[in-house]
């Protein structure tokens, strides 16, 4: 299987501040990858490195099996953060722009999309709603017929309804064209709705990365009498722990069945899973802080 995106020890520094450090990542092609993380985790930096808007300070990044950069612009579609468009140009002008600047431009696809969305081609982009503008930016990204489509928080500024419509529309387009997609968001619900592969990025580090179904099938919440997490079997990796006086709640990852009858085992939602990984990073960072526990 070819890789959509591969990063090795990737780092990016702005002045003195590191926006991304030591990021190692391997995203398969043909998937819809959701890149989740809190604001400032380095999601935008990673995606901008992937399209060649930025150059790495350390490490390397490959997109579609060749070094990222401006040499493969035609193979990658990019919908930048805040979905920028030319406010004074009309929708028709934007499509003309796409046709002039992209050799692989699919005019039928572009016009069809605008028509289906019910947009007036003569309308200026500055007059469009946030959702319509995002749709226009997506149309430009898709109609150049890329092999990989990268979207940087495309729905961050949209209301819930527009958000859902945009993602639904994106999924339809992806299904029709069989392209790889990498989509970043700080909301798990966006990813849950549209992606089949998850990457959690916190503090510029990849916390977890994998097929969403597999992730959900191998993560469990264990609730039982209080016990030390170190006494678990070796094949169970603890993601997060919380104790009360009598009871312990553990989030674990394991490929094996859980045999201990003392545990009440429940499945995780994607949100629980993401939050657990996000929480873990903040614990490791502030490890001098005592673990939260009710004292009596």
């Amino acid at each position: 299987m070819t890789a959509a995106l591969q990063a090795q020890g990737l780092g990016k520094r702005y002045g003195r501040r590191w926006a991304l450090t030591d990021c190692t990542l391997d995203l398969p092609a043909g998937r819809v990858v959701g890149l989740v993380g809190p604001n400032g985790a380095g999601k935008s930096t990673l995606l901008n490195l992937a399209v060649g808007m930025l150059t790495p300070t350390t490490g390397s990044i490959e997109v579609l099996s060749s070094a990222a950069g401006t040499s493969q612009l035609a193979r990658i579609g990019f919908v930048a953060q805040d979905t920028p468009t030319y406010a004074r140009l009309s929708i028709a002008d934007h499509l003309k722009l796409g046709a002039h600047l992209n050799p692989g431009w699919d005019e039928t696809l572009a016009n069809g999309r605008i028509q289906r969305l019910g947009l007036d081609p003569k309308q200026r982009a500055g007059r469009l709603s946030g959702g319509q503008r995002a749709q226009l930016a997506l149309t430009l990204g898709i109609a150049k017929r890329p092999e990989l489509l990268i979207l940087d928080e495309p729905v961050a500024a949209l209301d819930p309804l527009a958000r859902r419509e945009f993602l639904q529309d994106l999924m339809e387009a992806v299904a029709e064209q069989e392209l790889s997609v990498v989509l970043s968001s700080h909301l798990v619900s966006d990813v849950e709705r549209s992606c089949d592969y998850l990457v959690v990025l916190v503090d510029s580090r990849v916390q977890v990365s994998g097929d969403i179904e597999t992730l959900l099938a191998t993560h469990y919440r264990l609730v039982g009498p209080r016990r030390d997490e170190k006494s678990l079997p070796h094949n169970q990796h603890v993601i997060s722990v919380s104790h009360t006086d009598r009871q312990s709640t553990l989030l674990i990852r394991t490929d094996e069945p859980i045999l201990d009858p003392a545990w009440t085992v429940t499945q995780l939602t994607l949100e629980d899973l993401v939050l657990a990984y996000m929480g873990r990073s903040s614990q490791t960072k502030q490890n001098d802080r005592p673990v939260l526990e009710v004292q009596r």
Partner: protein
């Protein structure tokens, strides 16, 4: 890419092109008449034409417009070219189409920059052609009304020939580079305007005199060539600060003038008797004025004692030499600034 460049640029382009076209038409209509007059009245051409108000008006308006073109082009064509994209974030849209940033910039710079050069060239050509009879008459020693500044002198020089084109190319490239550094259109426009105007004011003082080594000559002041005498102090016993002479020939650009004595030493003040080379004091009585020796006596004494004027100047026939040098210099600067833009745009810009 040319389509997009034109689509984004057409409003500013049409405004400037409209102004240039309007003036060019006016000049084209009135120019032949002016040339006829020049041939009809070889000796008092300027006196004849100064009474038609349109001539004075067009002379001044053409000059003003040629001087205005570089700052306007730099500020309103150059500065927003990249700054506006960076400000609105649209560079992230256009740089992710299938063409490289370098090609994007090549098209934008070439298309807009060549438009700037072409329009300023047309404007300067029209003004230079129209004013040519007037400039010739002034260089032949005529003068009347506003028509009294030779074309080599700073007020006129920058509004003739190829110099305006060099300035326009430079101002455009400076605007683009400043926009790329400042990243905010309005600030970039203001800074570009100020910078270009400052350069227009400073270069005749600091740069132009040194483009070709000035000619140095010695002139002895006579009754005919004396152009000024500066006195200071009480009227009965004034100190003579300096005396000025005219260069032989017309249309020269005098850069500096000092008086030296027979030993070649620069004189800060002149002997008191030199005051007699000038007219009598304003409140002198008629008898006093009568009793003054003739002016020629004073000038003779000045010459006999070895006082002479050391003048450094650019002769009138260096007009085109200075034009090409100055224009060439600003073209080189424009290329250097464009090179900077290409270098900068390949680096990270988010």
């Amino acid at each position: 890419m040319i389509w997009l460049t034109w689509r984004q640029f057409r409003l500013q382009a049409l405004v400037v092109a409209g102004a240039v076209a309007a003036l060019a038409i006016l000049l084209a209509v009135t120019g032949p008449g002016l040339l006829d007059d020049y041939k009809t009245y070889p000796n008092d051409f300027l006196k004849q034409i100064q009474f038609a108000r349109i001539n004075q008006y067009l002379y001044m308006a053409g000059q003003a417009l040629v001087y205005a073109a570089p700052p306007v082009i730099g500020a309103f064509w150059g500065a927003p070219l990249i700054a506006r994209e960076l400000e609105a974030g649209t560079h992230r849209l256009v740089w992710n189409q299938s063409i490289s940033r370098t090609r994007w910039l090549v098209t934008k710079l070439a298309f807009t920059g060549l438009s700037a050069i072409a329009l300023t060239g047309l404007l300067s050509l029209a003004v230079t052609w129209w004013s040519d009879p007037i400039d010739d008459a002034i260089d032949a020693g005529q003068a009347a009304g506003v028509f009294n500044v030779p074309r080599l002198l700073p007020p006129v020089f920058g509004a003739r020939g190829v110099v305006p084109i060099g300035y326009a190319a430079f101002a455009f490239a400076l605007g683009v580079a400043l926009g790329l550094v400042i990243r905010r259109s309005v600030v970039a426009i203001a800074v570009t305007l100020a910078a270009v105007i400052a350069i227009q004011i400073l270069s005749p003082v600091l740069l132009r005199p040194h483009l070709i080594t000035p000619v140095k000559t010695n002139v002895i002041v006579t009754t005919d060539n004396m152009r000024g005498l500066q006195l200071s102090g009480p009227e009965e016993d004034p100190v003579v600060m300096r005396i000025e002479a005219k260069l032989p020939g017309e249309g020269n650009w005098k850069l500096s003038e000092t008086t030296v004595n027979a030993a070649g030493q620069v004189q800060k003040t002149l002997p008191n008797w030199v005051a007699e080379c000038g007219p009598p004091p304003p409140n002198a009585s008629a008898t006093e004025a009568q009793s003054r020796p003739p002016l020629s006596t004073c000038f003779q004494r000045l010459a006999d004692e070895g006082y002479r004027q050391q003048i450094s100047y650019q002769p009138a026939d260096r007009f085109w030499g200075l034009q090409w040098r100055e224009a060439g210099l600003f073209f080189v600067l424009a290329l250097a600034l464009s090179g900077f833009c290409f270098w900068r745009i390949r680096r990270d810009l988010t």
